[in-house]
Symmetry: C2
Subunit: 414 residues, 2 copies
């Protein structure tokens, strides 16, 4: 055989491989996402990562930079322009518009899609990440605003965070629009104001103040003392539901142009990581892309990378426990068929069991069980086969217990 140049085992740049421990963690995040979203009556939907490119282009010229420079967009063999979705909101708006007559409102939907952005890989900003998306369609009620923020809050709590670990900052796009009108700002200046506010935490205070003055907006106009009435209502309702960490912050505006009302961001209160973890808001006109009568919407997205970083810093990540409960090692390959019969009985009692095929020495078989973090071991030799009795070893404590074949399932299920 001629020696060929060998391929790299690296994944594509900026995306991740999920080995069993990584995947178990991702599954833990997803299970928590699902449990909390479903507890509020949200139901899961999904769509392909491929979308027609026009779905993102149509949103307005301000997004052209994102579409042109930050998405994976390519031509398929039929000359159709296709994009790997960079966010889920346009997709869910498309799907809801398509079946508006059949779906009942208010409509609660969630999904856990992977999203792609073409950008320099760096901490927390991979090219692909997974994101819980929670959306509520068809209600203009301030109670809908309350519920969406509450879902975000309960997610943080379900992950083990306490109220003082994070703060929910609420802002208002409609309040900002009013400000723009009151100070006679042009559309361009209004847009600049949003961009400036969106970068508030990332630029020096002096620069922020000076740019604000240049736009003709007095500092006091953005004081948190000017709390809009709707925001006050949301904060009060949240307090009654046990949420002690929601505050008004006029600098919360969110980047996307489609927001029209309440916007919010969850901030880490850790001094070393004082940044937005995730957020969302109300977008009342997004489905107008598809239909003359838009369906109002409000929602948020919660990515896997920022939340995992948050949980890691606070030691809130669960330890890895493999699904496999017991490993059956064999003293010779002839005993594998017998071991398979034992494993079958374990499976039938809902006890996941792995088998070694006896191609290595017993010590190496046990090393495999340990490498795979399997908690219990049973060594099957000729004695065990003839007596149908086994010794179960706890690989962590070294403790052993002898059981008959009939008692085996009970040991694990009790």
């Amino acid at each position: 055989m001629s020696k060929k140049a060998q391929l790299s085992t690296e994944p594509y740049k900026g995306v991740r491989d999920f080995y069993p421990e990584d995947q178990a963690l991702l599954n833990y995040l997803f299970a928590t996402y699902r449990r909390v979203a479903q507890s509020f009556g949200y139901v899961e939907y999904h769509a392909s990562v491929l979308e027609p490119a026009e779905l993102y282009k149509a949103k307005g010229s301000e997004n052209e930079e994102i579409v042109n420079e930050q998405t994976y967009t390519f031509l398929d063999r039929g000359e159709r322009e296709v994009t790997l979705r960079p966010e889920m909101t346009p997709t869910v708006a498309r799907m809801v518009s398509a079946k508006r007559r059949e779906l009942g409102f208010p409509l609660r939907l969630f999904s856990i899609p992977n999203l792609f952005r073409y950008e320099r890989p760096q901490r927390g900003r991979l090219r692909e990440h997974w994101q819980l998306n929670v959306d509520l369609f068809g209600s203009k009620s301030v109670d809908a605003d309350v519920e969406i923020v509450l879902v975000a809050y309960e997610l943080m709590r379900a992950f083990g965070a306490q109220d003082n670990d994070f703060v929910i900052k609420l802002g208002s796009r409609s309040h900002l629009d009013q400000l723009v009108r009151e100070h006679g700002l042009s559309a361009v200046a209004g847009r600049e104001l949003i961009n400036l506010l969106d970068r508030k935490g990332k630029i020096p205070k002096e620069e922020f103040d000076s740019k604000l003055a240049t736009l003709g907006v007095p500092e006091g106009a953005l004081s948190s003392d000017n709390e809009p009435e709707d925001i006050a209502k949301v904060i009060k309702a949240l307090e009654e539901l046990g949420v002690s960490n929601a505050v008004f912050d006029p600098s919360i505006v969110r980047g996307f142009d489609y927001y029209t009302g309440l916007v919010f961001e969850i901030f880490d209160t850790h001094p070393d990581n004082n940044r937005a973890l995730f957020g969302g808001g109300r977008y009342d006109n997004l489905t107008a892309l598809f239909d003359d009568e838009p369906i109002v919407g409000i929602g948020f997205g919660m990515g896997d990378v920022t939340i995992r970083d948050f949980l890691a810093v606070r030691n809130l990540l669960p330890p890895y426990i493999p699904p496999t409960r017991v490993y059956l090692a064999v003293t010779s390959p002839e005993l594998v068929q017998f071991a398979m019969g034992v494993a079958k009985e374990l499976r039938e009692a809902n006890i996941p069991a792995g088998i070694d095929f006896g191609e290595k020495k017993l010590g190496d078989q046990i090393k495999t069980a340990t490498k795979h973090a399997i908690p219990f071991l049973i060594v099957i030799g000729e004695n065990e086969q003839s007596s149908n009795s086994f010794t179960i070893k706890d690989l962590k404590t070294g403790e052993e217990k002898s059981v008959t074949r009939e008692e085996l399932s009970n040991f694990f299920n009790s």
Copy 2:
């Protein structure tokens, strides 16, 4: 507002939107995939849908057609050639090679990736589908072959299929190679033989026999009477484990070039749908792409579309049951805050509850609950608020029951 041309609500050609009922079905398939794979000690991994294009090109010239004409391959902005994975086996081989020193063998892995093929959309052949992939690395034992076929069998059983609903056809690539040598076939003719066998069920018997004769292979050489010893062992071991529907079929060869030993396909026995549902086999040299010392492997893939079609024909698909257990309707929007407190208590008792915001008439609120297939309804009016007692209505039977606020959770949890 100027009227703009509106966007289509259709998804990209050949891919699917998963509305709640579709997604619930997909989740049922995935949960069954997971439960069965884990019961045998398999652990879950995952990777990005984006892979370097070279991963598929390297496998040999026979696959060039697939890579060039049937994959989504494009250049990223850094001039890297990227492919949306058309299958998972090269990815898992890459990942196992990358961590061969850390991972213990035998190594049992499974994943449920989405796969892309650029082809004409038709029944069961979409451009994107989801596929359970089960792989076992590091064992040459015939018992490993037995286990992999057993996992496939137990999956079918877990979905509710009986042994006479399907048949497991086992073939052997090594046996075929031997045949090629015995009859002095050239490499090209050997390849033609594989292609011919792979199409056996799709072409008329006369055409098959005539082409076989042209290749110089006597019909008898492919008789199922010439059962290879290894296959006989596998069938016998499976029988001892309760599998009554595994047979030798010399025409089973599988399309991919990387198979080296046992190959198998699960066939539907339904007279109207007598075709392969899924399959797999042994590929002992695939990791040689990455490392001089290959790690032997065996596995199979089971797609969501073919299995769903199979289950639909046999009425084995589960009915749709939403996660939401109860819907709280309100006689006026002022009662929503009170309803939110009730819903909070239900959530704390693990009872998913949705709320109406009272923007529509009561009758329309109840229609929403019915559209969402939510089983129970509670109407909250001023009386309910003041008395803290509620009437729970079963929306299917119309049956009603009165309970106090304290008894509410017990009703759903008992």
